[in-house]
Point group: C2
Amino acid sequence: MGEHTVSSFDQELDEIDRLIVQMGTLAQRMVGDSTKALLSADERLAARVISEDATLDAFQRDLDARVITLIGKRQPMAQDLRAAVGALRMAADLERIGDLAKNVAKRVNAVGRTPVSETLSNSIEAMSRVVQDAVSDVLDHYTAHNAEALQALRVDDEKIDIRYTAIFRELLTYMMEDPRVITTCTHLLFCAKNLERIGDHVTNIAENAYYVTTGLQLPAKRPKRDETMPAASVS
Amino acid sequence: MGEHTVSSFDQELDEIDRLIVQMGTLAQRMVGDSTKALLSADERLAARVISEDATLDAFQRDLDARVITLIGKRQPMAQDLRAAVGALRMAADLERIGDLAKNVAKRVNAVGRTPVSETLSNSIEAMSRVVQDAVSDVLDHYTAHNAEALQALRVDDEKIDIRYTAIFRELLTYMMEDPRVITTCTHLLFCAKNLERIGDHVTNIAENAYYVTTGLQLPAKRPKRDETMPAASVS
């Protein structure tokens, strides 16, 4: 393979990486805005997040088409093929993050202005901020080819899981105390679960980015702490 | 490209398709078994589902490695490349179905023998059966290259969504009537949501299989009926 070909391939891959970063930036903003819309009953902001999901989907289709064309045209081997397939996977995870943010936004109307305690509101906001940071960190570490930092992101996901568990318990308590808030709390429960799942997608992205960067797989099973299930013994 | 090469490619792709069918069969059984375990508080069956998820993950890693090797070695164009990339995506969705079944299985212990009404139990079982049928149908239609039937699967997903909405409302009612069942009902809510999400993954698989079969995309946005959100006005 001539040097010219290699360099064109790299150029096209750089383009694709730029698309991934754009997707990530949009996905991160959607997470932030959907949380803000949820906690301030801002239906206009929620509507914007919902419409942005279509933009994110279009980004993914564009990226997919480019990657598939690139593989077909350049017929990359080993490391390059890994990078191309990795890009497809990362884009799929970013698209799912957008879906989950959209799902939070769609619940804004259902939750409305039902008063939730300030503690709960703060917990959800803080969890969302950790999740948003994880989204931006994974993209930074990917573009910096920082394998060590990518691996360390698993620890952040554990912190997200712990926050989710706390919110889960808090919501159960509210529901038991006042049946009138059950519907609202159920929607908030799904919102918190969505944030937790966004953390899982960040972990997937980190694993893929690690593989693209190093050629090595992180061990398939990361320690997964889901404390909400034993928590059932509470009732 | 010589005929020999083409035919080797097809043979390897057939191998990969067989792996997809194996994954699908396992995923479908996991959905059935996890539901059964949930509704009969069968912790041994739940444990089996949880351990089977590792098998499904291993299948996916095997499939991924084969597809990537195949692309690198055979350097397929157009239709063949589409089939190879489509296989990667379908495997990813099947792996997610296994994850969701495992998540149901992990809730078996938390739900335990808390009596749920026979109506509710029947609703969940019926929903699970529709979901299992969708998983097996999408694989049948894929291996039969039946584009029309693949497209029709979207209608099945709508039926699944309607069942989910009914179960969601039923669970809210129980929680409002008796705060002692709130924790259990919350876990059942997540189980029902998991089944609904499995339906979404079947739709993804159908869309990918349609693309592989016809080279055409089904329109990106399918009508998505989620009635649980307006339902919030109930409270």
